[in-house]
Amino acid sequence: MPKLPLSLRLGAFLILCLLLMVLASALSPTDPNATTPSRLAPPLTQGHPLGTDILGRDTLARVLAGAQNALYVGLIAVGIGLSLGLFLGVLAGYVGGWLDQVLSVFLEALYALPALLLALLLAAIFQPGVTTSMVAIGLAAVPAFARVARAGVLSVKALPYIEAARALGMGHGRIMLRHVLPNILGPLVVQASLAFAVAILAEAALSYLGLGTQPPNPSWGRMLREAQSYQELTPYPVVFPGLAIGLAVLGFNLLGDGLRDYLDPRKKGQ
């Protein structure tokens, strides 16, 4: 058992913190949307450890609820990207031939539309909101997942034991499940972790632009937008959500990097 990389341990720790934030938000008696007469309180005020915003809402409660929102959006978006990407990537890699070529071109085209562009399109067509932003972020993640899945399938497909399985008369579905998937799981988990980081950043940006999570649900990006107009009176409602975004993104980035190092056969045993 090789030693776990430092980045993996740090990343896991940060994500554990993020999960604890969500738990704290669920258990906290403070309503993140409740207004109090204590407006623009600085941090360490009695009852408001991180202070309050212009409406007297508790910044800590809102940052915690924002963690819940970020994880929720990230989960759905990565889920969309992973499932669609996996399906298309495996299909392209396993079937090969013209289907592979067509899918590659299609995915390349999708690659030219980053999450923000897709979100602009979807927000124009439907309503700007958490659903459109999740779908946009998820769709934008599809090509990367598909690429990882396709590469994995191609490298596995040529291996002797797959041919053996096929010779034994195993169906495509079973080969896929028993032999191909377990072999590409590692890179996919790495990709999922990195995509999570991207999703959290994208959600924050979209909410900041007013195209993501809608009020009263607290979202880190939207909190930034609202607090921007009075950051001269107090910078804290801008500072804390930004730090929360940074830590969450750092966590998933480190986790992804660490997992990659851990799973990389070249680096094993180093």
Partner: protein, 501 residues
């Protein structure tokens, strides 16, 4: 003896200059909140259109000055017959439009015949209902225009002072007037930098000698409060004309380089019900919502103390105002009792959605805080839906597909909207409609005010909406800007007499 004359004249001019010290020339940039879709208020509705063009570019027969008084503009004086049926206007002579053509009685006739044409698609003119009482318009001589009304209308001069009543050249195409309006005002429309600003330039042929003082005026579109503040600081902006965020007013009032100005406006923040549908067709529920709203807390909280508590659809600055601000005052126990009577309790709460338009910082903030108050009560579970203003216009304003919403009603004298059962509040009260007609047709001001007072009271008793506050009129300008108009009761931001040091 004759020799003395020019010298006396020079001395007089010098003295006048010393006393007033206005300087000609220079340019200022004024921030406004949104970028309108077009610039002709007779064709497209929007408060920011009027703010830019009213009395700066386009003028009407009469105008509302910043104090809200109706004063001469293209008409120098007017008389009203005793019957209240005939209005005779004497037109200003020698006035030219910006394209060099003469302003004549024919332009006035063409304008109001277009305005009162009920076929809006043919006329391209908004609100023909405003001009319905006009029987005919004539011009007995080139200096005079006569309006004959079908019935007396107390609001007629007010209507002529509205942005819809501004006058352009009679031969101008509607499309051109939308993007490049031509009028008789002190400034001509020089250009529209899309997404950035409009530019006005001095009208060198303006009929009032010596005016305007400024060479150029820019109106810059900046919705974000912080961007406005930063622009003012950096010198890119000279004036934030309205909707200065309360927190920014606090910051700027500490700084000698800026002057914060505030006053009464006619903008009521109305948390409106859809009166036609359950649950808000039940007056008990509407009253309960009103009683559950702590207006003082909203003014102190969301608006940092800027704003005036009101209790009906009228602002303290308007004529015939009745103070109902403590009517149905905050009383959560009574609110819960009324809701229980209507069948809503903590166990079986009333659930509904509160619509907010994203673009308006005051209303959004007040709305979010108000929803938090309502949810604190117990028997109410209110969720928020934020949409962009265009969607709001479509869903809420046009189709009345909503339960509750909040928006600022900027227009003066807009209590009459409650007399229209098709207006988005869907408030259908024959008694109110009768009172409002009484007001319009009243033979004198006292009678008119009596009817209007009764109408304000009736609305409050019916709890036809929650009139949260008269929104603050807050602005700021750099100290070098002089003679900024005091008061917010004109539809326009009139800058003819503004000058810079």
């Amino acid at each position: 003896m004759k020799r003395w004359f020019p010298i006396v004249g020079l001395v007089l001019v010098a003295l006048a200059g010393w006393g007033l010290a206005q300087q000609r020339g220079g340019a200022i940039t004024i921030a406004i909140q949104t970028e309108p879709a077009a610039w002709d208020p007779t064709q497209v509705a929007g408060a920011d259109i009027s703010r830019v063009v009213y009395d700066n570019v386009l003028q009407g027969l009469v105008k509302r000055n910043p104090k809200g008084e109706i004063v001469p503009s293209l008409a120098t004086r007017w008389t009203v017959s005793d019957s209240g049926l005939t209005y005779t206007f004497t037109l200003r002579q020698g006035v030219k439009f910006h394209d060099g053509s003469d302003f004549t009685a024919q332009d006035v006739l063409a304008k109001f015949n277009r305005a009162r044409n009920p076929d809006t698609r043919a006329s391209g003119h908004l609100r023909p209902d405003l001009y319905r009482d006009i029987a005919n318009i004539t011009s007995p001589n080139p200096n005079t225009v006569v309006f004959n009304l079908r019935q007396p209308n107390n609001d007629f001069l007010f209507i002529l002072s509205r942005p819809e009543s501004l006058i352009g050249p009679r031969n101008r195409s509607l499309a051109e007037q939308r993007t490049q309006p031509i009028g008789t005002g002190p400034f001509r429309f020089a250009g529209w930098e899309r997404g950035v600003a409009v530019r006005l330039e001095r009208n060198p042929n303006y009929y009032l000698q010596g005016l305007p003082y400024l060479d150029r005026v820019n109106f810059r579109f900046l919705g974000d409060g912080d961007a406005q503040l930063a622009g003012l600081r950096a010198g890119d902006l000279d004036v934030i004309a309205y909707s200065l965020l309360p927190e920014n007013a606090v910051v700027l009032s500490r700084d000698n380089n800026f002057r914060v100005f505030s006053g009464t406006a006619t903008a009521e923040a109305v948390a409106g019900f859809n009166n036609s549908r359950p649950p808000f067709n039940d007056v008990r529920v509407r009253r309960a919502i009103t009683l559950a709203t702590n207006k003082d807390e909203l003014i102190q909280g969301a608006m940092l103390g800027y704003g005036t508590k009101i209790g009906s659809m009228r602002s303290p600055g308007e004529a015939c105002y009745v103070d109902l601000s403590n009517f149905n005052a905050y009383n959560p126990d009574e609110a819960r009792r009324l809701l229980a009577e209507a069948g809503f309790t903590n166990q079986n709460p009333l659930r509904f959605t509160f619509n907010l338009a994203a673009e308006f910082p005051y209303e959004r903030r007040i709305g979010e805080a108000m929803v938090a108050q309502l949810n604190r009560l117990g028997p109410l579970q209110v969720s928020i839906q934020v949409t962009d203003f265009n969607t709001w216009i479509q869903r809420v304003f046009t189709q009345a597909d909503y339960a509750m919403t909040i928006i600022g009603h900027v227009e003066a004298n807009d209590i009459g909207n409650y007399a229209n059962p098709r207006y988005y509040w869907r408030y259908n009260s024959p008694r109110f409609q009768q009172l409002f007609t009484q007001y319009l047709r009243a033979p004198n001001q006292t009678k008119a005010c009596e009817a209007l007072a009764a109408a304000q009271r009736l609305l409050a008793e019916d709890a036809a909406g929650v009139w949260v506050m008269s929104l603050p009129a807050l602005g700021a300008h750099r100290a070098r800007v002089q003679n900024w108009p005091e008061g917010f009761l004109s539809p326009g931001i009139s800058v003819a007499e503004v000058w810079v040091r």
